[in-house]
Amino acid sequence: MANSTVREIGNEPKTSKMNLLQAINSGLDIAMATDQRVICLGEDIGQFGGVFRATSNLQKKYGNQRCFNTPITEQGIVGFAIGLAAQGSVPVAEIQFADYIFPAFDQIVNEAAKYRYRSGDEFNCGGLTIRTPYGGGIDGGLYHSQSPEAYFCHTPGLKVVMPSNAYQAKGLLLAAIRDPDPVIFFEPKAIYRASVGQVPEGDYEIPLGIAEVVQQGTDITLLGWGAQMVQIIKAAELAAADGISCEIIDLRSLLPWDRDCVAQSVTKTGRLLISHEAPRTGGYAGEIAASIQQHCFLSLEAPISRVTGLDTPFPLIHEKQYLPDHLKIYEAIVATCNY
């Protein structure tokens, strides 16, 4: 928890133990309570509370006009939500799994992302937030495991956010909902229940666009986001046992991303490792590596290392081998430091 980046709203210091899902639910609850314009929609999110229960009790509390099931049409959900936002509502649309966001790709990339620009700011859909669980770790195979963040990070006009723990989840979600631009909010479902921490019960926001330095270090910078932070932190512990001092950065906001924070760290450590679950080629680590080699060229003592998923669809039986885990990251740390 980097308190420096927290903007508390009100003065509610009380915290309680929540997992990441509960933190999301609490964030949605507060968003709906504090702003009449907030509307939750998506498949099975109403009475049922969503297949992961992130929207539990919201329909009961706020009525089925403000929290409702939609037909199964992701392009419709996002299109509808864009219209709502343009009208002045603050829609929070759920896509049941990030793997199913692609039917909505046109509405997101061609419409939401370009709404304000193309109209000369006559209209905007900035109220829009799209929440969706992403990533592996649940024996989900090809279609319940994908990490599609890079597709969206290549889209000017969108903001992309990915929390890595319960505390961040609530604070970033509240900031995303209230942000004046459309935000894609990826939730690390692998740690929905595993990530537990003290989370303020009240209202707070973590500002978008700012990375969190999770651990200071001197030998190498480790950068990641979402569920991958768990692996990175584990790997850093292994490396520490070898006497390697890792600086760990949690990017949190992927678009726009906090280049200054990363560049500053790499200028100090001289080495950078980036890890994500998505396939290597065209993944977002490429963007960061390209950017950082440009800005920190003279500081770099080894090539920037990428530890990622393989360039295959997400497998089922060989998921464990496929995923960039703490051991792979650890080996890459060692290789980079010994370069």
Binding site: I39, Q65, R66, F68, T70, P71, T73, Q75, G76, V78, G79, F80, A81, I82, G83, L84, A85, A86, Q87, G88, S89, P91, P103, D106, Q107, N110, E111, K114, R116, Y117, R118, S119, G120, D121, E122, F123, N124, G126, P156, G157, K159, P180, D181, G209, P256, R259, D260
Partner: protein
């Protein structure tokens, strides 16, 4: 809780429904000569409103002619006319209120005219100059105006349809006497977004009126290659949407249907689908030449059904209009359009800074950096980048 799904009464042998029970006729009120069809009810329309509608149709006909020439002269990069379909648009928008949101496809500039978009405003958008509300970012004909409640047009087809449903849902929550009017072509109705938008509107009881302009073509693709039925209207009941088909060249039929459609949308809080049967008399756009895919003969049949001529015949029969007022008005429109065209094409282009604003509400650092690099670069080669 209701038992779903209900079984309807039984049949004894496999009989397939082929839609023949669902032939949807077209509402028609006026004959081409301006006379009223025997037994038809003429909708309530004051002389003032009738002449306003007519004048706006005439204005757009003039605008289309002038701008098409301007494009041929190379003064404009691109243009699209709505020639032949004026009544489909004028008759619908006239039945709605200023607080209703209108979302168009691209061939509905009559909507803007009807709500008071000025000639200068049209021209500024077409030339993408300093005064274009859209800051010169989109191709010609992509108008929009917050003040007039007309959503800025976007090129990807049918994307506005689910958006219109969502917009209307928002209006409903606010409890206003307002609805959303959403236009699209019969070609665009093939997109998945059409299905999403109509079904969601029906299930979520959105006060939205969908107007599908069936003009026979989608660029070169005829209706026969677009769908296997006689149009889009037969799909409406399949969503549980109240649906009507009208002769799109008959201003009174279009208007009468639209008045009732708005009433249903706002009072019953449910969607409506109107299909206007008409014909795209001109090319798809200035980039198109229809002679490659349809006959002059076919075009002539429809030219003889000109909706503007039909309304004029009716107005004259009503003694609400004369040939002289027609000629005068045409002339004054032409003059005004030409004058504004000249002014608009001379006006400056939007400032370079507009390249990076409105991507986000505030310009983010990385984009500012990119822009500063660009400025430095341009400063080195000012001639090359001067407009």
């Amino acid at each position: 809780m209701k038992i779903a799904p209900n079984l309807s009464p039984a049949k004894k042998a496999p009989k397939f429904e082929d839609g023949s029970s669902l032939r949807i006729p077209s509402l028609q009120i006026l004959n081409q000569d301006g006379s009223v069809i025997a037994g038809a009810t003429v909708p309530d329309l004051s002389r003032a409103q009738a002449t306003k509608i007519y004048s706006d149709m005439l204005y757009i006909r003039m605008l289309d002619e002038r701008m098409q020439s301007a494009q041929r002269q190379g003064r404009l990069s691109f243009y699209m006319t709505c020639t032949g379909e004026e009544a489909s648009v004028a008759g619908t928008i006239a039945a709605f209120q200023p607080q209703d949101m209108a979302m168009a496809q691209y061939r509905e500039h009559l909507v803007l005219r009807y709500r008071g978009f000025t000639t200068a405003q049209f021209m500024n958008q077409l030339f993408g100059n300093l005064d274009d509300l859209g800051k010169g970012r989109q191709m010609p004909v992509h108008y929009g105006s917050r003040e007039l409640n007309i959503m800025t047009i976007s090129s990807p087809l049918a994307t506005q349809i689910p958006q219109a449903s969502g917009y209307a849902y928002g209006q409903k929550l606010k409890g206003k006497d307002a609805c959303t009017l959403c236009y699209f072509g019969e070609g665009a109705a093939s997109e998945g977004d059409f299905h999403a938008g109509l079904n969601m509107a029906a299930v979520l009881n959105c006060p939205v009126v969908f107007v599908v302009r069936n003009n026979g073509y989608a660029i070169s693709t005829s209706c026969a290659e677009q769908f296997a039925t006689d149009g889009i209207a037969p799909r409406g009941p399949g969503y549980g949407i109240k649906t009507i088909r009208v002769d799109g060249n008959d201003i009174l039929a279009v208007y009468a249907a639209s008045v009732e459609a708005r009433r249903i949308a706002t009072q019953e809080q449910r969607p409506v689908l109107i299909e206007t049967m008409s014909y795209r008399l001109g090319a798809h756009s200035t980039s198109d030449d229809p002679s490659g895919y349809r006959s002059k003969q076919e075009e002539q049949i429809w030219r003889d059904k000109d909706p503007i001529q039909r309304m004029k015949n009716w107005l004259i029969a009503q003694c609400w209009w004369t040939e002289e007022s027609d000629t005068d008005l045409q002339k004054s429109y032409r003059t005004e359009i030409l004058a504004e065209l000249k002014l608009a094409e001379q006006r400056d282009k939007p400032p370079l800074g507009d390249l990076i604003t409105d991507v986000y509400k505030s310009v983010p650092t990385h984009l500012l950096e990119q822009f500063q690099e660009l400025e430095t670069h341009i400063a080195k080669y000012p001639d090359h980048y001067s407009v």
